[in-house]
Assembly symmetry: C2
C-alpha cells in the first residue's frame, strides 16, 4: 500500500448482488440470502457461514413497505447463526451506514470478518412510496406539501439560478449526467436498465416533469434488490483472497435534515465534511481518485458531488460536465475532465440506471468499486488499470453522507 | 478495577432521562434533546456539545408511529453538530443495541466520547400499536393471527405446563414479579407508575386477561420517553467525573425471530449466549452480579432472565421467586435469593412500572444501574453498597438480546 499514508481500516474479500429490478416474487430476507450466498461463494480461498463474526444490515423503509422489523431475528433464522447483528436506517444512505458500522465493528477488534448487506423491496408500494420517501425529510417540509423530488427540484432550481448564468448548457449538463449513466449501465447485467439501450440527452430533456425542473429521466427509479459484502480485518484479508480490496477510509458526517435551515442548498455539507475526513485520513486528494460511485438519486446530486469532493469548483461542475460529455460521448466510458485530471463516475450506471433499491445502494457502490478494482466488472469493466475508488452515499437531501475510499493492493 | 479480570470497553460519565409517561405535547427530537441536555449537564467536570464525537440512537417504531426517519438529520439540527450518527432498530432491544454500537464505536478508537440516546413516542398511536408491535415478530406469526402479547402468552403457557407441576404457586410467582416491580418504582420519580401505589398480587391475578394466561398487570405499558448517556473511553473517564461507571462487557446475540422454529420456547437462547459471552469476557459469574435491570416486558420474561442468566436452574425460577417474595414482601427492595446468593432485579420498577417507551428501555436500564452504582438513584436507591450490575434487553420474543455488565471503580 505504498501510495497511501494510512493503514486500511478493513478489507473486502467477497461480494454478491441480485439484479436490481421489480422483483415481485421475492421478499427481503430471500434477496439478502441470495446476495449473501453469492458473496460467500465468491471468496476464492473459502468462507463459510460459521466464519461470519457479525452482520450489518441497512434498509430504509422495510417496516413501512415490507411490514417487517427486527431483521436480526429474520436473518438469524435465514443464515442459521446467532452472532451479533446491527440494522441501520439512514434513509438513502442506509447501505453506506451499514458499511460504515461494519468498518467500526472490524476496528473495534471484536470480529475477524463480518457480513454487510443492504436491501430494499420497494415495488410492492409503488403507489404510496412518494409519501414514504418523505421520512427522509423534515416533518415541516412534508406538511408544507413538498414531495421528495420537489426538495431536490428546489436545490436544482437554485443551482441553475445561482450558477447557470442564463446559459442553457447548464440544464443540458444536468441531462447529460443521466445519458452518461444510462450509457455506462449497458454492459452491467445486474442493472435495472441494461436492456433499455442508450438514452439521448434530448430524451432526458423532453421527459415528463415530476417536479420542475426535475424530469422523470433526471431521477433514479423504484427498485428491488440486495447487495452483500464480506469484510475482514485487513491483516487477514489474504487468507481469503489474493486480491482483496482495502477500505482506506470509512467516513460519515451529518447535517440539518431540512433545506430551510441550511446555509447553502446548492452543496451538501455532509458530503464536504466526510470527503475532508477521508482525505485527511488517507493523505490523498481528489486527483488520486480514479473512479467514483456517486449518489445520483437526481442528476443534480452528481453535480454536487463533483463540487463537494473538490473535483470541480463550486458552481462550475456543469461546465466541466458539458465539456467532458461533448468530448467523450460515444466512448464506452465517459470520464469527467478538469485540467488534465480524469474521474470516471458511476461506471455501473449509478442510482439512475443501475437502480436504487434504497438501502442496497451504499453497499452496491462498494460492490461496483470492488469489481472494477479487481477487473471483474464484466461488460462494464473500465478498460485500464485503476487503483483507487471513492463511494459516496447521501441520505435525504444531505442530512447524512458516507464516503468510502477503496484501493487495490498496489 | 481489581475484582475484574478484563478491561472495561467504555465508561459512562453522565446520564439524563425524561419521565416515562404519556407525553402528548412532546416530539421525539425534543425528548431526546431534553434527556441529552440533562446528560450533558450531569457531567461534573464539564462536557459540551462540541465534545460529542458521535451519536448513537435507538428506536423501534419512529417511522410508523411518529412519521419521521433519518434521525441523524433531525438531531444534527437539534444539537447543532455534524458528527457521525448511527440509528438502530432492534425492536424492544433498540436501546440496548444503541449502547452496544456505542461501545464498539469507542473500541474502534475513533471517538473519545459519544452520546447514546434511546427514545420512543407511542401514545399517539395507542389504538393501532398492537399491530405495529408485530414488526418485532415473524410475518407468519402475524398472518396466523397472533398479537405480540399472544406470543409471550404461548411462552408463558408452555412454561407453566412444562415446569409448574400443577402447583398454583407458579402462576402466583409470575404475578409477584409485577407486584415487586410496582413496589420498586414507588421512589422513582421518573417512573410511569410511581404515584399509583402498591399493586397487590391479587390485583395482578384478577386483572383483565389480554391473551390468556397474560393479564394486563403482567404487561408493560405504552409509554413515551427518552434517555441519554455520555459514554467515553475508559482511560479518560476521570477527566469528566471522579465516579465513572465502567462498562465491563457489552454483548449481543441473535436467534430465530419465530417461536415456531425454535428448539425451546421456555428460555431465550439469545439471552443465554449474550450472558455467556459477558461472563467469559469479564471472568465473572452470576454470583458476582448484585443488581440487574431485566427485560420484564411481560413478567414471564423476568422469570426467563433469572434462568437464562444462571441465577436459578431451568424451570425452577418460579419457586425461587415465590419464596423470595414471601420472605421479603414489605421490604423497600425485594431481592431474589438462591442458596445464599442475592440478586435485586429492576430497582427502578422495570419495564412493568417504570414504563416501556420501547427504544428508550435499553438505555434506561444502563441509566438506572449508573445511578444505583453511584448512589444517586434518589427515592429508590438501594440501601447498601453495590459494585456490579447487569442490564438485559430483549428484542421481540428473543430474536435479539443485549447484555451489559457495569461496575463502579473499586
Amino acid at each position: 500500500m505504498s501510495l497511501l499514508k494510512s493503514n486500511p481500516c478493513a478489507a473486502i474479500v467477497g461480494a454478491g448482488r441480485t439484479k436490481f429490478t421489480e422483483q415481485w416474487d421475492e421478499d427481503p430476507k430471500a434477496m439478502i440470502g441470495k446476495a449473501g450466498m453469492v458473496a460467500l461463494e465468491s471468496v476464492e480461498k473459502g468462507f463459510k457461514r460459521r466464519d461470519i463474526g457479525a452482520c450489518y444490515f441497512g434498509s430504509f423503509l422495510y417496516q413501512v413497505t415490507n411490514k417487517i422489523g427486527l431483521v436480526h431475528g429474520l436473518m438469524s433464522r435465514e443464515l442459521g447463526i446467532n452472532v451479533p447483528m446491527v440494522n441501520t436506517e439512514a434513509a438513502c444512505a442506509s447501505g453506506g451506514l451499514a458499511l460504515f458500522n461494519a468498518c467500526l465493528g472490524i476496528q473495534s477488534g471484536r470480529y475477524d470478518a463480518v457480513l454487510v448487506a443492504g436491501f430494499e423491496k420497494m415495488s410492492d408500494r409503488q403507489d404510496k412510496i412518494i409519501d414514504d420517501l418523505m421520512f427522509a425529510a423534515d416533518t415541516h417540509e412534508f406538511e408544507s406539501g413538498y414531495n421528495f423530488p420537489g426538495l431536490y427540484a428546489t436545490m436544482m432550481a437554485r443551482y441553475i439560478y445561482d450558477y447557470g448564468n442564463g446559459d442553457p448548457k447548464c440544464e443540458v449538463a444536468l441531462a447529460q449526467i443521466a445519458s452518461k449513466n444510462h450509457h455506462h449501465c449497458l454492459g452491467n447485467k445486474y442493472a435495472q436498465f441494461s436492456s433499455k439501450g442508450d438514452v439521448s440527452v434530448e430524451e432526458v430533456m423532453s421527459s415528463k416533469i415530476i417536479s420542475s425542473p426535475i424530469r422523470v429521466m433526471h431521477s433514479s427509479p423504484i427498485s428491488d434488490g440486495a447487495v452483500a459484502l464480506i469484510v475482514t480485518r485487513p491483516e487477514i484479508a489474504k487468507n481469503y483472497t489474493d486480491t482483496p480490496v482495502y477500505i482506506m477510509s470509512s467516513q460519515e458526517a451529518t447535517d440539518h435534515i431540512s433545506l430551510y435551515t441550511r446555509k447553502d442548498i446548492t452543496s451538501v455539507m455532509a458530503t464536504r465534511l466526510a470527503v475532508k475526513s477521508a482525505f485527511k485520513e488517507t493523505g490523498l486528494t481528489i486527483s488520486d481518485i480514479e473512479i467514483a460511485e456517486a449518489h445520483d438519486c437526481f442528476t443534480i446530486e452528481e453535480a454536487f458531488f463533483l463540487e463537494d469532493s473538490g473535483f470541480y469548483k463550486k458552481g462550475e461542475s456543469w461546465k466541466g460536465i458539458y465539456e467532458s460529455y461533448e468530448s467523450f460521448k460515444g466512448s464506452k466510458h465517459i470520464p469527467y475532465i478538469n485540467k488534465g485530471k480524469e474521474l470516471v463516475v458511476n461506471l455501473g450506471g449509478g442510482l439512475k440506471a443501475d437502480g436504487h433499491p434504497v438501502g442496497a445502494t451504499g453497499v452496491r457502490q462498494a460492490y461496483e468499486c470492488f469489481k472494477q478494482l479487481r477487473k471483474e466488472a464484466g461488460g462494464n469493466q473500465i478498460d485500464r488499470d485503476v487503483n483507487i475508488a471513492m463511494c459516496h452515499n447521501v441520505g435525504g437531501t444531505g442530512g447524512v453522507a458516507t464516503v468510502h475510499i477503496l484501493a487495490r493492493d498496489i
